[in-house]
Amino acid sequence: MAERAEQKIVSATGNMMVTEAFRQADPDVVCAYPITPQTTIVEGFAKCVANGQVHTEFVTVESEHSSMSACIGSAQAGARTFTATSSQGLAYMYEELPIAAGMRLPIVMANANRAISAPINIHCDHSDVMGARDTGWLLFFAEDAQEAYDNTMIAIRTAEDKDVQLPVMTTLDGFITTHAMERAELMNDEAAKEFLGERTPLFPLLDTENPIAAGMFADQDSYFELHKALRDAVTASKPVIKRIGDEWAELSGRPFDFVDAWGCDDADYIIVVLGSAAGNARHQARLLREKGVKAGVARIRVFRPFPYEELVAALHGAKAVAVLDRSENFGGEYGPVGLEVATALYNAKETIPLKNYMFGLGGHDVTLEQMEQVYEDLEKLAAGTIDGSIEYLGNR
């Protein structure tokens, strides 16, 4: 078992903590374009480059489309490659995202979760990252600045692991987590660097002794099989994420779980949620527990690969479950998280009543009153007096 390493308590925003993780990883290449509320990540990192704290080639590209393209070339060349983006920037990268995954390039990208236009809005929701959900990238969701750092450290190791070789998006909620100053613990540089190690590329394009061709054409005779290979790789990354997460947990003293199951052991009513809103849900759950209501919160920290078993284990025994979605699925009944939870429960033959809510879109205020309403609804749902159809939480 690894010994707990020395850490420094810092006052930092989520973006500052991601920058610190990037600095400690000392990437070979960072290709980035600014966009609110991600900008301070790459701005902070550009200062690290200017100050000689890292040995990075910082490529100031003209767009996110170019940013991800440059990342793909760089990662295939063999370089440890990072970037960061948000919202429209992530959308502009969309064309390249499945290419990075299909070519199995371990690019690490921080995404500041932000609403997608129109109307234009710079605040938090998950519609940008959920738009990139099915691209073959691993997706991590941080609740706070500390976890933005921890997830980024785990993401770098996971992406570059010889058994994974996949791009990882490590996400944090726009403004709420990216810009709020919090107490956080920063690993000492030596231990962080030892944990991260160096990238050993599988097929580096710059290895002229072993020439390769990358970005191949695959016809009807192989495209289908190669997609199966990518699906298998994403699924198989789960035990590796667990091993690396546990290793980081031992080193840092902060637990790692695919699903942060608060009070779920004996809970009657559970809220499933991603990211920063889990804090509100837990606070309300605590208040309700003081009144004797057995409330719980299951926060999903790793969304791809999706932790079906862990989630079912957390929800098992509950009388009713609410899923809070922060991105739309217009014309469909449930949002992306709701769909996954329904799939998890159905396949596990669980018949727990389920209700789905849209909340906090475009930074719409997420309040304790809303959480209270959800827990009240769950009692009605368990009693069968309301149904599980989707609702806009706190909408006028």
């Binding site: 070519m103 199995r104 599988l202 097929f203 390769i212 990358a214 192989s222 199966k228 298998d232």
Partner: protein, 107 residues
């Protein structure tokens, strides 16, 4: 066939048989991919008219003009796609384009 990569049973490969990232793990092997079957028209070379000016060799986009000792020796029909650029550029009437179907029939 590459020593590093035996693709004989390619069409029977399962997901796990492919190199990670669908990388082609050897260089310079596109020659193994026979693309001549795409051809609708075929350039036919008449050696006695040829002055070995090599203009066709310069313009051929598929490196399908075969040469030896600085002289043209023929056309690589395994890879020539019949674009006709060589025929268009030939100044000496040494190349003409015929329908592939007619050429096959004449063989």
């Amino acid at each position: 066939m590459s020593e590093k990569w035996n693709t004989d049973n390619f069409t029977e490969w399962k997901a796990e048989d492919f190199p990670i990232g669908a990388v082609c793990v050897d260089g310079g092997n596109s020659v193994e991919y026979i693309t001549g079957g795409w051809r609708a028209e075929r350039p036919v070379w008449t050696q006695e008219n040829c002055k070995n000016c090599m203009l066709c060799w310069v313009v051929c986009p598929d490196s399908s003009i075969l040469t030896a000792d600085g002289k043209m020796t023929g056309i690589d029909y395994d890879h020539c796609k019949g674009c006709g650029v060589c025929v268009k550029e030939c100044k000496f009437g040494a190349l003409e384009l015929v329908l592939e179907a007619d050429a096959k029939e004449a063989e």
